[in-house]
Amino acid sequence: MATNTPNEVNPVEPGGTAESEAGPSRRELLVKGGKVVAGIGVAALLGNLGNWALSYAADKEPIKIGILHSLSGTMAISEVSLRDTVMMAVEEINAKGGVMGRMIKPVIVDPASNWDLFAEKAKQLLLQDKVSVTFGCWTSVSRKSVLPVFEKNNGLLFYPVQYEGEECSRNVFYTGAAPNQQAVPAVDYLMSKEGGGFTKFYLLGTDYVYPRTTNKILRAMLLAKKVPADKIMEEYTPFHHQDYQTICGKLKKFAAGGGAAVISTINGDSNVPFYKEFANQGLRAEDAPIMAFSVAEDELRGMDTSALVGHLAAWNYYQSVDTPQNKQFVANFKAYCKKNNLPDGDKRVTDDPIEAAYFGVYIWKQAVEKAASADVDKVRKAVYGSKFLAPGGEIMMDAANHHTYRPVLIGEILADGQFKVVSRSPGLVKPEPWSEFTNPEKGCDWVGHQGTYQK
């Protein structure tokens, strides 16, 4: 899927002072710098042999897993958190004796927010490091870039971010939401009496695959629900767009007379300028709420939330979800970040992709144990239909379509960057990679069929 969201590491947070925050990271940098000086020569000489040497330094026969998240470049801000999460899960599992008595040994690579480097690093993980499973990717394009590599070499990828659907790969497990688990229920909610009974929809997104596909589904859905076509507007802005004056002007005109809601799939750093402009042009959350699919706690951390309060988001998990295991999870995550001197330490927050990345590791672990093997084909079968008590409540892997049953939660943004849940699906929602509105004839099934099939 999607977002260019914030969340790496490290900012100065409210309450702390700038200096005291900058200190450790600077020292950290110096230490790293030292390592570089020492390491560069060796690394440059050994090149790929380095990996080989490292892997033999470990204990007897660990299971190797790959972590394929951008640690530098524009996406680092989002993806570093997922690496941390996976590492935390790995540490937890290893502390309890590993998988079938074997330690998990993560191989971390950095595709540097560069899509073709994603393909290269995926090849490296599969062909050279021969990992059993890979946890990674954030943007749709990075997933699409590695997909052929995984399919060609029969690898296994756990993809933890909500996405646009219309994909059904034998080599990927999708632990984030399919469109029918996020976008569709969110709009359903807005149309309901409880949600405000909105009748006009402005679909606004960053111009790439996730917003385009999501909006295609939403448009089909709205038309099916008898919303006239002239009450639906669709607009896309380029990545990193900053100037939302014109769009907010259009929006104001569209919203006049009431009953209008904005469905935002705006990505990453465009959000703050958009919300600010929206508020400054005199638009209110009461008249025209913005329902966002790419704004989560991690993005709101350290952001000026004043312009966002009262607007909505749809996810499958929030840090504020009130379950005992979630309290434990949040506390563990903060403790992990603090212990490992990760930037921001215990000020870190959890959100939907973090939870999805986390339980993905456990789903894989359970499957390996069930299959008594780390072999991709065996693990795949063992994943089908497996359940896990995730922080946000029990989730279940679909019996055939490689996606995940999850609950749908609509949240309202609060001033502290957390969400108040205003609506919750009655139970777990079955994932549908092919939307009933745009591809009613298609289904995804790797048990009874060979992937995508005609119903």
Binding site: D110, D116, V209, P238
Partner: protein, 385 residues
């Protein structure tokens, strides 16, 4: 000619043959012959990756021609690279056929974009020769038009650099648009075959590698021929004193246009070879930052030296590939730092350093003639001061 090619004349032929033999014969054999666990075995992955670097080296040659020799800084080479890669990519998209996710004859992204009919500009790319010719001619034609307007009005120096940068930004924005039917941010991917050969087969990749090496060799010889011709000296002359070139009866704009178009063609060729080897081409490869990075390759290797361009492209990309494994957060520091360092201290890059080292060793013997340093500023550049 003086730009270091005088010594290439003497020892260059041999060096070219040796390097060519290693790249063309030894590397594929190392991939093919030794058993997989041998120390000498070169994995499919490494060979394929190296092929990608060599494709970049072709682009670097073109950039060296325009920047190193002629002194025109083009910050828009990524655009030409992208045009070439997209032409090839479009062909490969069309050959996927029913194997795609949607099982449609149309490329996947058009299906989800609800494009019902293949846009007209896609149609020629059903043909492989058309795609190859397009990958070369489209960038060249684009460079011809853009360059014609730029050079005709005597836009130069910093001005030219800035408008080519703006061009890269504009191209990036346009390619990112979904309604241009070029695949948007996701670009073109999931290629299956080229000319009926499966891209997933190591043999196909090996063949692509060999073709890349051959293209690189041919490009190298082409560039060498250009710079050794009188026209090549005019290019250097343009860099040294454009005013004098005008007053010697040449029209510098035509020469600049020529070299700009050639460099665009080489960038297109690089893109053409890149797409099938990497298996994806996205707008991320053609924007402002990648275009600037291409300049780094040449700067690091040594501008004004063809060998330098090749060495720079390969070593910077190899460095990135390896170092991002170990020091991901430090890579941008290194890249930036390297660039500042090279510009400040080693304006002739790695080749310049090697040459200087060699000179130190041979000075006693050779004596008389001063080493020729291509980038030493002799004439204060026009435009400023």
């Amino acid at each position: 000619m003086s730009d270091g090619t005088t010594d290439t004349n003497r020892s260059g032929g041999l060096g070219f043959a040796v390097v060519g033999a290693i790249l063309l014969v030894v590397m594929p054999l190392l991939n093919l012959l030794p058993p997989e666990d041998s120390w000498f075995h070169l994995s499919d992955f490494s060979l394929n990756r190296f092929g990608k670097f060599l494709a970049f080296a072709i682009l670097a040659l073109g950039l060296d021609l325009i920047w190193g020799y002629t002194g025109i800084l083009s910050l828009g080479q990524g655009v030409f690279f992208g045009l070439g890669a997209y032409c090839m990519g479009m062909h490969m998209m069309l050959t996927i056929g029913k194997e795609s996710v949607y099982g449609s004859d149309m490329p996947d992204f058009m299906v989800w974009n609800q494009v019902k009919e293949l846009p007209f500009f896609w149609k020629p790319f059903y043909s492989f020769p058309a795609a190859v010719i397009g990958a070369l001619l489209v960038p060249m034609a684009f460079a011809l038009v853009f360059g014609f307007f730029a050079f005709r009005s005597r836009i130069k120096g910093v001005y030219f650099a800035i408008i080519t940068q703006a061009l890269a930004l504009a191209a990036w924005l346009v390619f990112n648009r979904n309604d241009t039917n070029l695949g948007g941010t996701n670009g073109l991917t999931d290629f299956k075959q080229v000319l009926g050969y499966r891209l997933s087969e190591p043999g196909t990749q090996r063949a692509l590698y060999v073709i890349t090496v051959l293209c690189l060799g041919a490009s190298y010889l082409l560039c060498q021929w250009i710079i050794r011709s009188r026209a090549g000296r005019v290019l250097v002359a343009v860099r040294d004193s454009e005013k004098r070139v005008v007053f010697s009866g040449y029209t510098p704009a035509n020469y600049k246009l020529f070299v700009f178009v050639v460099s665009a063609g080489l960038a297109g060729l690089a893109g053409l070879l890149y797409a099938p080897q990497v298996g994806i081409i996205t707008p991320a490869q053609i924007g402002v930052l990648p275009s600037l990075e291409m300049v780094i390759w040449v700067a690091v290797g040594g501008r004004g030296s063809l060998a330098g361009a090749v060495i720079g492209a390969v070593s910077v990309n190899y460095g990135r590939s390896v170092l991002t494994n170990y020091f991901p957060e430090l890579w941008p520091f290194m890249l930036g730092g390297l660039f500042v360092l090279v510009v400040l201290l080693f304006p002739d890059g790695m080749v310049g350093m090697i040459r200087k080292g060699k000179d130190l060793l041979t000075r006693r013997k050779a004596g008389e003639e001063k080493p020729i340093v291509p980038n030493q500023k002799v004439v204060v550049p026009e435009g400023k001061r």
